[in-house]
Symmetry: C2
Subunit: 565 residues, 2 copies
């Protein structure tokens, strides 16, 4: 059996390490400016690929990512396994039963949100294939169908995350959007699989009709019989095999088999694994921790390798055509937003809501990029069109959140850690007296420009009317302060414990001082709920009592908050 | 950039899926008969490789694992990334400070446990290279050093797991063995890295001396400056980046960089990542959940791909030479057991303990196999010798546990689920009366052949002297029964709750009946502790109250027990 030699292995490892590290760094930077992490991962490929590194330092580029050779093949293999697993995870987020629970609105949003952009895309692609980056050898019908599909899909993972950020995920509006997105996502995949079958079939001796037939059969079979079997077999696996290895191996190998099957029938591998993901994710027998383990490893290790590898394959800068980008972007937004708006209005939504739904469903995210890549690899579109689709997919995802927030006039959701700063972390309190402790925290909190006396008087007055120990060793002295613009949180820790008259009689070791504006719109309640939820876990309480610096505090709060979501 | 075509991608995915699935199946079977899971993973390669599938169904074999081609290169890349990550995890299990805490005994065990097998291996390898499978073109000195190293290493991961199984991990004896194994493991790796440097250096233009020098410099630098930096940087990463993505990407890319570096200086990649693992694992800032996520994904996805791929490369059956296998096995056991025995006696252990330490340290496990593979790839040993080393490594690991148990006269540790059976699971109780519930459970428990009246009388008498509700909705009626050979556990669930007079006043929903032999040697206490620990978690309590069948019960118990270890 042929093997990688030492030189190739060294290159491969170096390339993987650099891709992982840079993708994470740029991903973090993207999130820092409020953008999805995948933007950073895509930029990684552009930075390290022919677009930038290849132009500036061709020797380094050619060493890491040579045009051919065993190390590049192995890297491509890793990226391919990465996208297959990524779609397993994306599929697992789909909850089929959600669709049925959301009656009329969801149905009309999703149907109108597919039909209108599909029609616009098909007509545009049919009438002006040259203008829209149809590749020379591609069939006009296939190209028009491809463009129609790309404009009609919605990227469920991006939409779900946007709704969570906006605190809308569990709201009625949120569930309608999710249900419609699931439907559009699945329908888009199936249509696309059919198109792929039509395109690729001729190369493999399978007639287009039979490729389409097998694709539909696979989808139907998996969603019915496959779903039933998986739901039956999962408890058995969890009972009889080592945990979580058995479930992990089962889920991953099923995804890979599905992918190999659809790749074999000339529909791309990703279609097979997304369907397996839907089937597995739908079973109530999959434990939360199994989902987490798969999704964390895939999101932070495999997916970045795939997204970064896109930029390695295409020179994004040389193929950037502003006019084409604008055209694709305009077509996408108008088709999807108008379609969903009409659907929403028909489904009985207000204008404002229907508009927000349109912006939400407009996010193409990763799905748009993957579809574009497949079309590029199958010779349907030009490299410039691929770049335009990538830009459109990223841009629609980036504006989805802010646009929904604006239309619905929502405030951005803030977490506990956002209210704290290194200045308002008082560290370990030396006193065991309640009043002393409150005054120390008031001094720290007022430091930013408030009058200490005002703060101290208000907090002590509040404490007098009602003691603020809430049990579990946590106390939350608080007050509303006139003229304050945004909430301030201060934190002090006590090893000995301070008596805050808690209902469980325990002394308080964790003391949060909460100052809120007079016209507080629920921020105080939200902070309170966050504190209570975070420190209901004994682990979180123990961990916070081990921190010494503000950095360690942030680390603890972040992981404690993540643990509970 | 060159890419895998559709056919290659299909083969790759199919091969990965089959390897994962078969490895897990055989791994489970191996564990079922009390053997380490890695045995099954190794057998997977033998089954699917040239040894068996290649001989029986050459067409299928050549389709999945062709002798050359892009899909095999990509698979080899995956297996290599797999072994690099596996050694990251293995390194993370090393706890450097343990060595220092175990004074004289650990030091004499580890020194004597290295020096004596090393001497035996070196002399044997020097005197009879031909007999011991030295390859024709290999240097005699290098071969003798390789054999010496292979006989001196100990496989920390195998030893740690064996001690946990025997419930000895936290005992004095256990800590001495662990400390000595860490030392031998690290020393073995460093010696082997030096030998690899000597072997490979000439091919790369690096002089042997400078390869050795760079290797030692890397090790020292990482264990001092690298360790300091990682410990400093980790809290910052956890505070400033998304969790757990930041830490995951940091750990994995550092491991891959270390691997690329040592591969670059002609010492194999695995050495670089095992040292990175030691450095990262040693930092108290790495959270338990991050360790879990990495270790679960690596152990159940990447490691099986690597171990299975070994059998794909070598025809184990054709290269099995019984004499050589026996010789290597005999040399290994005698050297390590005698060495550790002498060390243990010098360190003040009893004969029995010293003997147990010898059997424990004798496990070569995965480390022996990886060393052998590297020697094979570098042309130091023949394929037959490699097979002999694989057999020796597996066999020494397999006998370590049973031999220690016999020497120390220990009982095998049993878990809660081992005492239950489908016959003693009473399901949902209809009654809310304590006596009724106890009698139902007694009937179920006595079903196997005990006299129901005896059991019922003993349990009710015990219940009278002391109510057995232990709070959290759990009750544990119990009794000792004359003539009983092994403990019996019965379980009944109650939706309404039954009053067992628990200290927290809550009714009991989970009722375990425990019957123990008269001369019970701690089994009852252990079962009690297991029950208390398992159901201290609210999640476990909620989940068990959702089960309907015995299979679902087992699944819940298994994952609940895993969650707490």
């Amino acid at each position: 059996m042929v093997q990688l030699n030492s030189d190739d292995l060294g290159r491969l490892l170096l390339a993987v390490g650099i891709l992982l590290l840079v993708a994470r760094l740029l991903g973090e930077l993207a999130q820092r400016i409020g953008q999805p992490g995948i933007l950073g991962e895509l930029l990684t490929g552009i930075l390290l690929g022919p677009s930038i590194l290849g132009a500036l330092a061709p020797t380094a580029h050619d060493y890491l990512f040579p045009a051919a050779g065993p190390s590049v093949l192995a890297l491509d293999g890793l990226a391919n396994v990465g996208v297959v697993l990524f779609l397993l995870v994306a599929g697992m987020e789909v909850n089929l039963s959600t669709i049925w629970r959301q009656g009329r609105s969801a149905l009309s949003v999703s149907l109108s949100g597919i039909v209108i952009p599909f029609a616009i895309g098909f007509v545009a692609g049919w009438l002006a294939p040259g203008l829209l980056g149809c590749s020379d050898q591609a069939d006009r019908l296939v190209f028009a169908l491809f463009l129609a599909t790309t404009l009609s899909i919605s990227a469920l993972p991006v939409i779900a995350r946007t709704l969570m950020d906006l605190n809308l995920y569990r709201s009625d509006l949120g569930m309608i959007i999710i249900a419609a997105a699931i439907f559009d996502d699945l329908a888009g995949w199936i249509i696309f699989a059919v198109i792929l079958g039509m395109m690729g079939a001729s190369n493999h001796g399978l007639s287009p009709n039979s490729a389409v037939f097998v694709t539909l059969l696979y989808t139907l079979g998996m969603l019915t019989a496959g779903r039933y079997l998986v739901h039956r077999v999962l408890p058995w696996i969890q009972a009889k095999t080592s945990w979580p290895g058995g479930v992990l191996a089962f889920a991953l190998s099923l995804a890979v088999f599905g992918a190999a099957f659809t790749e074999g029938i000339v529909v791309h591998a990703v279609f097979g694994s997304v369907i397996v993901g839907v089937v597995i994710g739908d079973s109530s027998h999959v434990r939360e921790q199994t989902r987490m383990t798969i999704s964390q490893f895939v999101s932070f290790v495999f997916a970045p390798l795939f997204f970064a590898s896109i930029g390695l394959k295409v020179n994004v800068i040389a193929n950037f055509e502003p006019l084409l980008v604008l055209l694709v972007f305009g077509l996408s937004c108008s088709g999807k937003i108008i379609g969903c708006w009409i659907g929403g209005r028909l489904g009985g939504m207000s204008k404002r809501e229907a508009c927000a739904v349109g912006f939400g469903m407009n996010a193409r995210g990763v799905m748009g990029i993957i579809l574009g890549l497949l079309a590029l690899q199958n010779g349907v579109i030009s490299e410039s069109m691929f770049v335009a689709i990538v830009v459109m997919s990223v841009a629609t995802s980036m504006i989805a959140g802010p646009a929904m927030r604006l239309t619905l006039r929502l405030k951005k959701r803030r977490r506990l850690a956002d209210y704290l700063s290194s200045k308002t972390f008082a560290g370990w309190l030396r006193t065991t007296d309640r009043r002393d402790a409150i005054e120390t925290l008031c001094r720290v909190a007022a430091n930013g420009g408030l009058a200490y006396e005002t703060v101290q008087r208000a907090v002590l007055a509040r404490e007098k009317t009602m003691p603020t120990g809430i049990g579990n060793g946590v106390a939350i002295p608080h007050a509303r302060i006139e003229g304050l613009q945004r909430p301030i949180l201060a934190l002090g820790l006590s090893a000995a414990g301070i008596d805050f008259d808690a209902p469980d009689g325990e002394p308080s070791h964790i003391v949060f001082l909460i100052l809120c504006p007079l016209n507080d719109d629920g921020a105080q309640l939200q902070i309170l709920a966050d504190i209570a939820r975070t420190f209901s876990s004994p682990t979180a309480r123990q961990e916070i009592l081990r921190v010494n610096t503000y950095t360690e505090l942030l680390a603890t709060l972040r992981s404690a908050l993540t643990d509970h979501h």
